[in-house]
Symmetry: C2
Subunit: 311 residues, 2 copies
């Protein structure tokens, strides 16, 4: 049944792709077999992350990217991941109105992903969904996230290239986020470039990028401008992404990233299973030891020792 | 030396307290001994979390809370934790200007905490810092965090009572955050209550609180108003916190929370140590297995199996 579903997904049937991603979301028992079947096919698509604070125009930019990629005859999948709340799932990214023009195009697949139930965490779920989309033959996979918290950084680590979107007039939020944003962006785009203050944001970003320490062979992230609402600057962004990916493939950066990603994924799966084994571990078990710690009769380190002594 | 430092901290010397918290931040080797020495003294202070989006007036509210607690002759510690960026540390909470009036008061201790290096993660570091502050004899410990992402929820789990601060006119960010905020708040405060829209925020929050499912013996979080800039509503907030803590102590909720907290702390320490052991685990080791996964010759689940087979 799983091989049939994979075959249907590879043939471009969106419902089959959707059902496979649901298996990922739900951390379904079939996931293990699915990943074994898909292992050999990974690394075929270009996986581009797009992140930015609310209000910078992510949805519009994603829609413009899809239009530009379709004009180049590429099949595109969009995966919207919302790690900003453990509760609300994909709610913040629910605004798919601008994507409606692509709704009937079989070369475009759009999916919001909520992952609260996944044992391996959001990053593993995103990575597995990317594998599904690669197997389904999409040439480009755009992974959209909000903001730059720890979870966004983890999702950024699942992609080949990270585009950070900013806009003028967003206030302190963006200013404060820049330090973090600078470390995950391979490319920066100042959207709404016709607005007041756009040039100042570009200038400031370029200065920060120039100041950031990096070794000689490293990539210096370009700072582009766009007006996604009418598509201005989007073809240039795609070219810049390709330029980065060519650099990353040539310098070994892409390979290092993919190994690092696999490393984190394996680590997460191992730790999730070890965590599941903790309650029954040790002579006393986690709950009894925790009660002793709460009562002040034991310190947490000694409790941890007792759990680790028996393996 | 550690017992001397603890004695000095217990005697109210702020520099000794600061040095102990630095040991926590740096995950210092002495931490283990420190926690063993402090184990018996935990649970003595009331530990109040204060969270809210940037701009709602957290700093002002914390300053007003400190003033009100000092008027009641309580010794107060403020721990500002910023988990919103893995890079910027405590920068977002650097605005301690409003706290300057307390700077010379020996009954007040203020500290921002950056914890990027702590193996057990932010929640464990916060919990350990709270133990230090309890040992130092502070009657109330206010733990201030930004926002309501996953990390904030984890920090919220380290406290006895969580106060969620909101303000009118903050736009979509707060609206969107409410679903998450609702689940961690024991008390809600709408600050800047003299501004337009404050009543609407109060009304909307009350409706959401009333709708939230809970069992009969559960606490229904009150929605208070305040104007922290002139201290209006702050004594009422303190009374409400005491009301909640009395309820939580009587219903067993406080005990359950403290056990849950100890459980998570022990779990984090165990998992951190298991993670550190992964690279050398198994016949092939994590890096070799990860390279196989990246090359598509192995799936992540099988790689995880191989690491787990040898224990």
């Amino acid at each position: 049944m799983l091989p049939d579903l994979i075959a249907a997904a590879s043939a471009g049937r969106p419902r089959a792709v959707g059902r496979l991603i649901s298996l990922v979301e739900n951390d379904a028992p079939e996931l293990r077999e699915l990943m074994a079947l898909l292992a050999a096919g990974s690394g075929r698509a270009r996986v581009v992350g797009l992140t930015g604070a609310p209000g910078v125009g992510k949805s519009t930019t994603v829609a413009a990217l899809v239009t530009a990629l379709r004009a180049r005859d590429d099949r595109v999948a969009v995966l919207a991941v919302d790690p900003s709340s453990p509760f609300s799932g994909g709610a913040l990214l629910g605004d798919r109105v601008r994507m409606q023009r692509h709704a009937l195009d079989p070369g475009v697949f759009i999916r919001s992903m909520a992952t609260r139930g996944h044992l391996g965490g959001l990053a593993v779920a995103a990575s597995q969904a990317i594998r599904v989309l690669e197997a389904a033959g999409f040439g480009t996979i755009v992974v959209e996230t909000v903001g730059v918290g720890q979870s966004e950084v983890e999702v950024a680590e699942q992609v080949d290239a990270t585009v950070v979107l900013l806009a003028p007039g967003m206030g302190d939020g963006i200013q404060a986020a820049k330090a973090g944003v600078l470390e995950i962006g391979d490319l920066f785009v100042v959207n709404k470039s016709d607005r007041d203050g756009a040039h100042a944001v570009v200038r400031e970003l370029r200065a920060m990028v120039a100041l950031a320490e990096r070794s000689a062979q490293d990539w210096r992230p370009p700072v582009l401008t766009a007006s996604a609402v009418d598509g201005t600057g989007i073809p240039e962004l795609l070219d810049a992404v390709d330029g980065f990916l060519a650099h990353a493939a040539g310098s070994g950066l892409l390979e290092r990233r993919r190994r690092q990603r696999a490393r984190r994924e394996v680590e997460s799966l191992v730790l999730a299973r070890l965590r599941a084994s903790l309650p029954a571990r040790g002579r006393l078990g986690l709950d009894t030891l925790a009660a002793e710690v709460a009562a002040g009769r034991l310190d947490p380190y000694t409790a941890a020792d007792r759990l680790l002594q028996v393996s």
